[in-house]
Symmetry: C2
Subunit: 198 residues, 2 copies
């Protein structure tokens, strides 16, 4: 016996989402069947509404209902630094710390030749234009410490050098609260390499 | 800075799904924003369509587009055994083995006083009615080896006793391919208790 077509179709859609495997997709789809009909309808509406109404800021490429976004139009924020992140979720993670009050630039991806994503597929040109047209003093690269993050950071730092501005990267090292003993080798190597004088 | 309302709403919906925490919900919602609009719309439609068109079989309470379902109407299956499962997904797991060709009964839950689910909230009355009205020789209880599964199995076996039919439970023990050494104590205890003569 097979699942009926409408259920199979729903399972397939859930499976397209990141980090959702076949078993989880099945569980989620079966859960939808158990929900009340009005609830399912408003979930479906929320999906379409989010997709339809949410835009990207044409300046920093952050997710926003307005263009330019709240951050770009906030006059109390410094206009001299741009923090470069891969995705909007990274921006939100940094915003939660309440420690940074400059501008952002969301690349909307990272250079990844394996996935066919080259420099022209992410918002690099747009970053260079902003740096060129505004009085920027520092660009902070806040990219994941992955192969793609490293490659993109290297590429960006080369492109930004000619502007004669400060280009920095956030530090990678041992997370606060964890123990040396349990830190993986690569992190430990990086933490030693980037040691700072005290 | 906060997420915009339509995005927050979508994140909240994803978070209602089982096994989806706040971080995953955020990732899924952001992924929806990156999908093509027609794709999002047909995902949303698939959700509503599955909910609207899929029914439960009025005999065994399995998920089905037809009532009674394929299994209940399949004349090549034995009518003498009923395999009792908690959820449709358990039925599908058993069907995949191609080893069982009797009837099923989907309880649509397990007795769980902690969650306010009593015997009347799941399809127990309906099971007893089926056993009463048909010539059933055996009821196989295929419920999860959890507190709720055990409680439900105990409750059902007491109710089924007066019918004078065979009531069995699937075996719990060491999974094939795993090692005694790494088996948790409860499983090991159960495996010893239910040992079979060879």
């Amino acid at each position: 016996m097979e699942y009926t077509k409408p259920l199979l179709r729903l399972i397939e859609y859930f499976q397209k989402l990141p980090s959702i495997g076949p078993k989880t997709a099945q569980r989620l789809a079966l859960y939808i069947l158990k929900m009340e009909k009005p609830e399912v309808e408003s979930f479906a509406n929320a999906m379409v509404e989010a997709k339809t109404t949410i835009k990207y800021c044409s300046n920093c490429y952050n997710i926003s209902s307005n263009d330019p976004c709240e951050i770009c139009t906030n006059t109390s924020r410094s206009r001299e630094t741009i923090c470069v992140v891969a995705e909007a979720k990274d921006l939100f993670a940094i915003e939660k710390t309440n420690e940074y009050s400059g501008q952002y630039h969301v690349l909307q991806g990272l250079i990844s030749p394996m996935d066919g994503i080259g420099p022209d597929d992410i918002k690099i040109k747009e970053l260079l234009k902003r740096v060129h047209e505004n009085e920027i003093k520092e660009v902070i690269l806040a990219l994941n410490p992955s192969v793609e993050g490293e490659a993109t950071a290297l590429y960006l730092s080369k492109l930004l050098k000619p502007f004669g501005i400060k280009v920095s990267r956030i530090s990678y090292g041992i997370p606060i609260g964890s123990e040396l003993e349990y830190t993986d080798e690569l992190t430990l190597i990086r933490a030693i390499e980037t040691r700072q004088e005290v």
